[in-house]
């Protein structure tokens, strides 16, 4: 796809609807972070350090998500291990 095609693709969608889509995604993401408990970032940092003792990983290879399930919460830990 050349540059010309790129702009033509974009042109089909109005800039207002692009704005709306981007807002929906970022607002949902930020609301999730807002409801997370204060200790979550620290927890994530310490988990990364523990895992690093054994495998070399980047910060963005560990995801800690706390999901609210009504009467309990589920802590989900997602670690992407590098190729061996």
């Amino acid at each position: 796809m050349n540059l010309f095609d790129f702009f033509r693709e974009r042109k089909k969608q109005s800039s207002a609807s692009i704005a709306k889509e981007r807002l929906q995604i970022i607002v949902a993401h930020e609301r999730g972070q807002r409801s997370a408990p204060d200790y979550l970032p620290d927890l994530q940092k310490e988990l990364i350090e523990v895992i690093r003792k054994y495998v070399n990983i980047d910060n963005d290879q560990v995801q800690v998500v706390l999901e609210d399930q009504g009467n309990c919460s589920i802590l989900e830990l997602n670690v992407t291990l590098p190729d061996r």
Binding site: S14, S15, A16, K20, R22, L23, I26, V27, R31, R34
Partner: protein, 271 residues
């Protein structure tokens, strides 16, 4: 029972002061004793928009620090019987407002006013926090533009978690969305977020839509709140918003592009 209403936004320059002056004046016009309080310490501007800048002797910080009584600091509006202004201080000391001090002044204002309108500074720092902390209701002023909408959502999060009501586990602050600087023709062309889009994202009750209007600058030039310009679209839209704030249902106006005149349609004139 007195009501404290904060006009807030997160983002700067979206129309909080214009709105505070309009809503305060609109409530007073309808017979409610109202005071509009400027929380923008260091950047006092409400006095200019209300047209009372030359009558400021004592300000909010003077009252908090005990250098003046509320009676001395309140400025009575020249046009309306029920309307008062409490000016912000021009001090550069960011800590001039304290939670305890603001709480004391709010309690005292509650005794003699029906509505206390708090004009918040931009941002989410101390001044903005204190402006919303004691509120019963909030008008979240938003422009149809990405950064304003995102900041409004951020502010809604703070209203729900960091206010006195939230901390005391009381009924939450009642939130209202006021969409300002709205251009129906740009929305039609797909260049601007529409009112439904913003409502869908923020998911709070729509208090009103104020069109982008030349009457706002004209009003601020003269120090007359735009709601007093009854001929103007923005003035009428603010009047509708005040009616809704008082619980009346009125249809939203100024959402559509002006109908083209017969001749314009005949000859296909674009503007």
């Amino acid at each position: 029972m007195a009501k404290i209403l904060v006009v807030t936004s997160g983002k700067g320059g979206v129309g909080k002061t214009t709105t505070s002056a309009a809503i305060g004046t609109g409530l007073a016009l309808r017979g409610h004793k109202t005071v509009v309080v400027d929380f923008d310490v260091g950047l006092r501007n409400l006095d200019l928009i209300m047209g009372c800048e030359r009558r400021v002797v004592y300000d909010f910080v003077n009252v908090i620090q005990g250098d003046a009584t509320l009676g001395q600091a309140l400025i009575k509006d020249k046009r309306l019987e029920n309307l008062y202004v409490l000016a912000a201080s021009q001090t550069r000391d960011k800590d001039a407002l304290s939670a305890e001090g603001v709480g004391r002044v709010m309690d005292e204002l509650r005794e003699s006013f029906e509505y206390i309108i708090c004009d918040s500074p931009a941002g989410i720092e101390k001044g903005a926090h204190l402006a919303m902390y004691f509120a019963d209701e909030a008008v979240v002023v938003t422009n149809p533009e990405v950064s304003s909408v995102r900041d409004s959502d951020r502010m809604l999060g703070l209203l729900a978690s960091k206010s006195r009501r939230a901390e005391n586990g009381e009924e939450p602050i009642k939130e209202h969305l006021l969409l300002t600087r709205y251009s129906p023709d740009r929305v039609n062309k797909g260049e601007m977020l529409g009112v439904e889009d913003v409502e869908e994202i923020l998911a709070i009750r729509l208090l009103g839509v104020i069109p982008e209007s030349q009457s706002v600058l004209k009003a601020s030039n003269q120090g007359i709140p735009v709601i007093l310009d009854e001929q103007s679209d923005a003035g009428q839209a603010y009047s509708d918003a005040v009616e809704r704030l008082l619980g009346k249902e009125t249809p939203h106006r100024f959402l559509d592009v002006h109908k083209k005149g017969f001749l314009q349609r005949l000859f296909g004139g674009r503007e």
